[in-house]
Symmetry: C2
Subunit: 193 residues, 2 copies
């Protein structure tokens, strides 16, 4: 399990055994049951998450309706905007599956950063990378139709289509569940004829 974490870190910096042990001793691993809500609208939080196993989901409730904006799976890291801006959350975060998380809070991070300067370097590289990914993601979403977005998702994150309920996927694509059903049927039809 911890290997997932160290595989991830090795993409950015290389760690000594001592450093690895130090990380493990921080006791930041947390197991969460399917359905658990990690953050609710209105709450303040200092926690960031790294998904080791499982899947978590971010959604808003707008006019009583869930609007899913993100899924995080293995090797994905999530620092909720409200943690950075230190304002109450406008959204919910919950577990779609039994999930193993690495949880860190802002205070702790500072401590770790001073002890292990490598960490700060890694975090900076990571957040730069994240900014780029997010920008590209946004641009792709903006410049494509629901059908293109679905096909794109099928390419890039095929696992999501298996493990996530259709109505949450639909919301993530910016449409209603009925429209996703129809859209899928339409695509099947094209591939037949």
């Amino acid at each position: 399990m911890k290997n997932i974490l160290f595989d991830f870190i090795s993409k950015y910096v290389s760690l000594t055994e001592d450093e690895k042990n130090a990380i493990v001793s921080l006791d930041i691993f947390r197991s969460v049951k399917k359905g658990t809500t990690l953050l609710k609208e209105g709450q303040k939080s200092l926690e960031s998450y790294f998904v080791l196993k499982g899947c978590i989901r971010v959604y808003y409730i707008i006019d009583g309706e869930e609007k899913t904006t993100a899924f995080y799976t293995e090797m994905d890291a999530l620092t909720p905007p409200c943690v950075i801006s230190k304002t109450p959350s406008k959204y919910y975060i919950s577990c779609l599956e039994d999930t193993i998380l690495l949880v860190s809070n802002s205070d702790m991070e500072e401590e770790v950063n001073t002890k292990f300067p490598k960490f700060e370097i890694m975090c900076r590289m990571f957040s730069a990378e994240l900014l780029v990914k997010q920008q590209i993601n946004f641009d792709e979403f903006k410049t494509s139709s629901p059908e293109q977005r679905y096909l794109n998702l099928l390419q890039k994150r095929p696992d999501l289509i298996q493990r996530v309920p259709q109505h949450q996927l639909a919301s993530y694509l910016g449409i209603k569940p009925q429209s996703l059903s129809r859209l899928r049927a339409r695509i099947m039809e094209k591939n037949k004829g």
Copy 2:
């Protein structure tokens, strides 16, 4: 003109006169004529921009069609993803109006950062803020309809609707120019009745 820059910086850190002079002496101000293209698809770039006056626009050309994804106006900073990822650009950046920019390139930034540690602090605060804004922006886009997006824009950046051509605005909202015209007519109709 330089005041716009220092007003902006003062939101993050306070500068001495010496520091201000040092910045001015870097000679990083550039005037650009309306219509100038700052970056083309396929090019590599190390330049980041800060808009002092005017407006620049980011767009893709997909199937021969312009897809506008962002506008940057006074006090907006833009570090194109391709600068961070050091890959060829997939998009264009051009000036919508005669524009005065502050231009920095990656090499120079490192030099400035070591000379003025304050700068690195500011940059980090700034990019954290940017990440949050971008995330919120994306979420808003995803969770709303074209009409809501237009009304939202009317609230948040009313100047854009005046200074930007309708067909570019339409693209920015994820729809065709004809649909934007219709949508505006629809809203006018509602406000009458």
